[in-house]
Subunit: 166 residues, 2 copies
């Protein structure tokens, strides 16, 4: 979900802007995370933000993800697999966000987990830790933190996913 | 979780007893579900009960499940995989119940899903629908509704699981 179909980075920047005047037009450097760009004494604040009920409820949607995933459903069995269990206060928020923005994905095809030990043919993910021991075809969805990674087939946008898989 | 480490049947009976005087010592016949044993006009009431926040929060623990799962962790990587997504109001309750009674299972090893498309070697489950297309070794955990099933290796208790796997 995060950084693939939902945009938590924009929300982090807004919250750090509100509390610590981090600039709203902050660009995260290649290979870095949001916490590399905020004052040293509040670099763990993102973890508080993310654990607050409501954090995930109004995230912006990554462009074209709805349209392309709907099209993928014509050809594939599509699952949403989110490492949501790290933030148990937000399970319902994540569920409700999906119900709002991806209502065409039914409950059978939603997985909230820790380790992503799913038995699928393809995985689209921004975190390479999820590709360790994954037996299928990994597609690395571009996010600032993974820009320096060269070990995986990369997709920069949902338009590119469509080009590859449709 | 349900009917394997947590006991929703006892709670269903208590609620049907409270509202419709179904006897507290009700035994569910082999191959049947709770709704086969309640008045015709309230046989779907179980679905309302289960969707109420709090339903899963105080379920009794299936005997020996804590002790045996803790022992299994010495030899296996143990995941809890629950079809919790069917009851989105209860995601947090199920999470908190696990935190209370199985605190030795960390968030990385908890999966709330619909279809159980997990890539594991063994699956202990009471519902044979979860064994369809499952490539590993299924162990059918006995529950009244599955007593007539003969197609799978069966475990009647967690003591039997220990005997097989430890």
């Amino acid at each position: 979900m995060d950084e693939v179909i939902a945009d938590p980075i924009k929300k982090f920047i807004q919250l750090y802007n509100r509390d610590y005047t981090v600039p709203l037009d902050l660009k995260i450097d290649a290979g870095n995370e949001i916490y590399h760009h905020v004052p040293k004494d509040v670099e763990q604040k993102w973890f508080e933000y993310i654990n607050e009920p409501g954090f995930f409820r109004d995230l912006e949607i990554i462009p074209d993800s709805q349209r392309v995933i709907k099209a993928l459903q014509q050809k594939y069995e599509v699952y949403i697999v989110s490492a949501a269990m790290e933030f148990p206060n937000c399970l319902k928020d994540k569920h409700d966000w999906l119900a709002d923005h991806f209502p065409f994905i039914d409950w059978q095809h939603i997985i909230f987990c820790g380790n992503k030990i799913v038995n699928t043919d393809i995985m689209i993910d921004d975190r390479i830790k999820n590709f360790v021991n994954y037996p299928g075809r990994p597609l690395l969805f571009t996010s600032p933190h993974n820009l320096l990674v060269t070990d995986y087939e990369r997709v920069n946008t949902w338009e590119e996913v469509a080009g590859l898989l449709l």
